[in-house]
Amino acid sequence: MLWLALRFPHLALELVAAVQVPAGPLVIRQQQANRQQVFDADPAARRLGVRRGMSMKQAQLLVPELAIVDRDEVGEAEGLERLAHWAMQFTSQVVVQSPRGLLLEIGASRRLFGGVTALHRQVITSCEQLGHAPRSAIAPNPQAAWWLSALSQAPVITREWELRTALAALPLDCLELSDKQRQALRRMGLQHLGECLRLPRAGLRRRFGAEWLERLDRALGHSPDPRPCFRPPHRFAARLELPAEVDNCSGLLFGLRRLLQELGGALLGADAAIDRLMLTLEHADLPPVDIALQLLEPQRDPGYLLELWRERLEREALQAPVLSLRLASVEFQSAGHANLGLFGQPSGRAEGQALWERLQARLGREAVRRPGVVADHRPESAWSLENSTDGAPPGQRPLWLLDPPERLRQGPEGPWRDGPLRLEQGPERIESGWWQGRWVRRDYFIATDSHGARLWLFRQADERDWYLHGRFG
């Protein structure tokens, strides 16, 4: 296991900057106990002396032309989830480390991406394309990776025995400690984690609690660290609030590109593609406008999708400035990696199955049917439309039929005939004949016995006894 931690210290800021170019130095404002303070400031504002935690009044005194955006915690959580979608293209195990981090298990995918260094670089580059500048670290377990990612020099620890040294050098500020704990450690004259590790465990536990010690053990790799993985839903729906009203197509595409890149990552992660996308433009006081994009073939390349959207949106006249975008996909389709036959012939059978599924998915189960013949003299009753999928093969029938059926012994785990019988197919319910006084309600199974013979068994519905009714010759 090898974990890559991505820490987005300026997530709120980057989410805002991704969709708008601010007029001046930008700060994120946060309400903290009836005091408005600076939650985060962009580089321009920081150069002018605005600091995190500063009161808004002070910041505005320093920089009168400050652009101010209120902090949106829900938006940040959504943004992080979209990043988790995006990260699925690198690994199947993504852990969302709220509020501002992601943990990626890259041990399994390092070979695919050409080694740890190449993968690391690719993740960071892709991240930068989305407008994020994360701090990162690689370590053999998620806890250590997360702690190390607080450092600015992006440490890469791939071997277990390097881990202790690297962790020992960690300043205490990097650990998730409460203020009280941090003060206590500082008063004890401790600066780095290594000094803590030299202390007796019993004392550490008494002072700082078992929970923190457990976390320390996890970071050192002494105890396992299971994490709940991010499970992407098999459809995509994301909303992007445009910080300013947008009234032209290029502005929309700017925001849309971001959503599409996240969609692309999610599709890659799920090994899926989509052939239909719905974009909803939300206006201030007009009802939202839906624009659908229907593709000929399922696609997942965000660049290609963006081109299609460009074509589509340029035809669309915007009725009013747009406040936010919502992008929704239909159910993901598995990407078409068709197996070819040995001589390159396409495998038509599975393709055919997929076709009927697709038709039924859109039109309903009843829409695709098969004409059939009914034994009746009345012309209008001599035909039927059967469901095309069920009844197509009416269940396998044995060549030898036993009449009357042979009752079988009940074994410890099911029917028994010279040994346990292994059920392979079934049940197939056959229920008929009530009008003739011989009501048959049976569940049929195909089973194999210990000699390798295939048998046709049934069990009366609501009964436990098994009967042998036929043998497949």
Partner: protein, 203 residues
Amino acid sequence: MILEELLSSAPVWRGDTLLLGHRPRTLPSGYPALDGLLSGGGWPGAALTELLLDHHGIGELGLLRPLLVELGQAGKPVVWISPPYIPYAPALRQARIALESMRWVAPDQPGDAAWVAEQCLRSGSCGVVLLWPRALNTKMLRRLQLAAEQGECPGFLFRPRAAATQSSPVALRLLLSPQARGLGVELLKCRGRRPGAGTCLAV
């Protein structure tokens, strides 16, 4: 000599090789007179065919009967999309058309019929697609034609004769008319053949 070189160089496209060099698969129609009329000796196997007729029941299905019998025996699905009436199963069986391979699709939305046809043509798993469209524009026709080429699946469109005046990207267009001795078939458009030729089939 110079002519020879010119002709063998890549940028020159020759009409006959266009047709013969990449000869598309054709399916015998079962009517020798008709096969002789069509280029390649049969229905185009990977393209659309338009059958233009004004009244249902003049023998348009009889024209396709040999094809349906053959495809049914091969187990290839035959898809009927929004047919005007119900394909009557006993009659299909009388005509020795395998019922198991028939698929009847009747979408409620008028726009869905073309979508279904496109999906079926493109999938490459169907034997033939029969479509009775309510309305089709040239764009949709081109899409269907492209799907038929990609999926290498023959498709038949049943349209009114009034559509003959519209241009169409399909490979083959036939005008059907009832005649005293059977079904009159006239070529309206056929790749590689002059239009206007016709025959009368006893279907």
